[in-house]
């Protein structure tokens, strides 16, 4: 399996503070790749950097093309999609409208000015895939929490993204929903690279093909679930987590 996305020596700093400090990361098609680490480890910042939100030093290459310095929407059009910790769907639009917008980034100005006559097939298929077919005409704001996360993933699927960066996709989900989500992730990873930022260790153990542990902006360990779990440094970091979280809150 070859890497779709290659990040080399990524550095992100804010006001002199290095949030991400020299991270290398490869995402490959067919894998669900978990990024874990304590609060402040730089996971979300790394995703921000790759998607063009945070300026960085280093290099991000997808399909042989350097992405550094490109605008957010250009990077998105290169097939890199992401979700956010709090599901970012368009609350006042219906599920179908959400997906239709996500499917249409390449539409011409004239077609945009027309009324939508029928839903594109890919939208209908995706609604089936994320289990929201019955909710097609429901405003996204009224969906349950988990459904919103699914919708957000669906929005990346219709948009033809082949690199998916998901930020805590199961936050707030019940047990059954987690399993469904996990299976969905594997399903869509068949022909895509999927990276998941997650805190939930059980979920990670159940569904990760590969795990990268970040700590203080650097890669601590990378490998299969078992390899990573066996790493003593990882164990140390995770024992210290509770204290760090408390410190961060007090800052």
């Amino acid at each position: 399996m070859s890497a779709v996305l290659t990040c080399k020596n990524i550095e992100v700093s804010f006001d002199g503070f290095k949030a991400v400090d020299g991270v290398d990361l490869e995402l490959a098609r067919g894998e669900v790749h978990f990024l874990i680490g304590p609060n402040g480890a730089g996971k979300t910042t790394l995703v921000d950097a790759v998607t063009g939100l945070a300026p960085y030093a280093g290099s991000v290459v997808k399909d042989g093309e350097e992405l550094r310095g490109k605008k957010v929407h250009h990077i998105a059009r290169k097939g890199i999609g992401r979700t956010f910790q709090t599901a970012a769907v368009f609350e006042h639009l219906t599920v179908a409208q959400n997906l239709d917008i996500a499917a249409g980034a390449g539409r011409s100005a004239l077609s945009l000015l027309r009324r939508r006559r029928r839903l594109p097939a890919v939208v209908v298929d995706t609604m089936d895939r994320i289990g929201l077919r019955d909710a097609a005409d429901t405003p996204a704001g009224t969906l349950a929490h988990g459904q919103k996360q699914w919708l957000e993933i669906g929005m990346l699927l219709v948009g033809d993204a082949d690199v998916l960066l998901l930020d805590e996709p199961i936050a707030g989900m019940g047990h059954d929903e987690r399993d469904t989500t996990g299976r969905l992730l594997h399903d869509i990873a068949a022909d895509r690279a999927v990276a998941v930022v997650e805190h939930d260790m059980d979920f990670m153990r159940a569904f990760a093909d590969r795990v990268t542990v970040l700590h203080a902006g650097a890669v601590l360990a990378s490998g299969s679930v078992d390899e990573v779990a066996a790493d003593p440094r990882v164990q140390e970091v995770y024992l210290g987590t509770a204290k760090e979280a408390a410190d961060a809150a007090r800052a």
Partner: protein
């Protein structure tokens, strides 16, 4: 989802439909073209009853309300006096009051309402030139009458407006004459950025050139501006013999405070103001402005029986703490002038009033004023006043006789080629 036409077709159809509709209506409803005679709207003035209506159109809200409410009071006082004395042509006068809201467009709208809906015989009001300019076409198109009571920049004469405030040759030029007489050889000009100050300063520049006076500087601030640090410093370092001030409203407060604070006084550099009357002195603070000069045609302190009666009546009607000022007096006078013209014409009709206007006079608080039938302005006595510690203005100089109005300054050679600077 129902079937729809593609957008371009639907858009084209909608456009065609609206174009056709507009065209149809335009041809169906079109009236006179340029050059054709139009029939002016017929006046709906009804004089068959016991009362005749007149309009009072002043800003009661917005930034100009400060000044214009006082004019409204003066108009009301004059109408009450007329009614108490038996009315005009034996008919009681009824005021239809409207608020101009300090907005030219509202003045235009309300003027039209007064003429067309309320059928008034004449309208009294307006303050800013913008409001007058907005109303002028309304009065001309509907052939009705406006009595405008405020000093203004001149350069206007309409058959349908009577100007009872001073034009420039009754205020600006006498003020310049006074400064020249008292030995001023250089001037600094400070004004708000609108038409009156710019026109006034154009006149001052032309006058100065003709009379060997040097203009050392000319500054404008945005209306309502209260930042005078730069300007006052420039005034001070220029060291002119006098300052000619055409600032309006709140800017005066900030200007005079700054002026006093950098150590300038009336003794070493007097300021001649043309927009500061009794009403404004309180807000500026008498300690900041004492001894400075103003140019008007009327002060509350004028010593004449007519003025004593006016001030007394005004205080009786609106409170002992109220003061009377030039625009109020001009508004009061304008109502009496209208009544006198109607009596002379024996008719309320606009054409009759216009025809009878020339030479109509009224012995007002400021003295006798006479309407000039050619330009619809009135004769006025120019007076320079000094602001005293009691907050009132006292006459220090007055023109030997009432000055004939000359809104276009045709009688002044040096003013032949006036040009307002950008």
């Amino acid at each position: 989802m129902p079937h729809r036409f593609p957008l371009p077709a639907r858009l084209a159809r909608a456009l065609a439909a609206s174009a056709a509709l507009t065209g149809l209506l335009a041809t169906a409803a079109c009236g006179a073209r340029a050059g054709e005679e139009t029939v002016a709207a017929e006046s709906c003035l009804d004089t068959s009853g016991d009362t005749v209506k007149v309009g009072a159109l002043n800003s009661l809200s917005g930034t100009m309300a400060i000044s214009e409410t006082t004019v409204r009071d003066a108009i009301r006082l004059a109408v009450d006096e007329l009614n108490a004395a038996g009315g005009v042509q034996g008919k009681q006068i009824e005021i239809v009051a409207e608020d101009g809201a300090s907005e030219p467009t509202v003045f235009a709208e309300k003027a039209e309402k007064l003429i067309r809906e309320d059928c008034v015989a004449a309208v009294f009001g307006g303050w800013t030139s913008a409001s007058r300019k907005a109303m002028l076409p309304v009065f001309e198109d509907n052939d009705s009458l406006l009595y405008y009571p405020v000093q203004y920049e001149g350069l206007e004469a309409s058959e349908n407006i009577f100007y009872t405030g001073a034009t420039t040759n009754q205020q600006i030029i006498p003020a310049l004459d006074y400064l020249a007489e008292t030995g001023a050889e250089s001037l600094y000009l400070v004004g708000s950025d609108y038409v009156f100050p710019r026109t006034a300063n154009a006149i001052i520049n032309a006058y100065a050139e003709a009379h060997g006076i040097e203009v050392l500087g000319e500054d404008y601030v945005t209306l309502g501006s209260t930042e005078f640090s730069t300007i006052v410093n420039q005034v001070k370092s220029a060291g002119a013999d006098a300052v000619f001030n055409t600032l309006n409203g709140d800017s005066n407060v900030a200007f005079f405070r700054e002026y006093a604070n950098v150590g300038l006084t009336a003794a070493d550099m007097p300021v001649m103001s043309v927009s500061i009357a009794e009403e404004e002195v309180g807000g500026i603070g008498v300690e900041n402005i004492e001894g400075q000069l103003a140019a008007w045609n009327y002060y509350q302190t004028l010593d004449s029986p007519a003025n004593s009666a006016f001030v007394e009546a005004f205080k009786a009607a609106y409170g002992a703490d109220r003061v009377t000022s030039d625009p109020m007096e001009a508004a009061y006078t304008s109502v009496h002038l209208w009544a006198a013209t109607v009596e002379k014409a024996g008719s309320f009709a606009v054409a009759d009033v216009q025809a009878a206007a020339d030479g109509v006079s009224f012995d007002g608080p400021e003295g006798t004023v006479v309407i000039d039938g050619d330009n619809h302005h009135v004769t006025k006595t120019a007076r320079i006043g000094e602001i005293s510690a009691d907050g009132l203005l006292y006459t220090v100089w007055e023109s030997p006789a009432p000055i004939e109005p000359d809104p276009f300054l045709e009688g002044y050679d040096w003013a032949a080629d006036l040009s307002v600077t950008e």
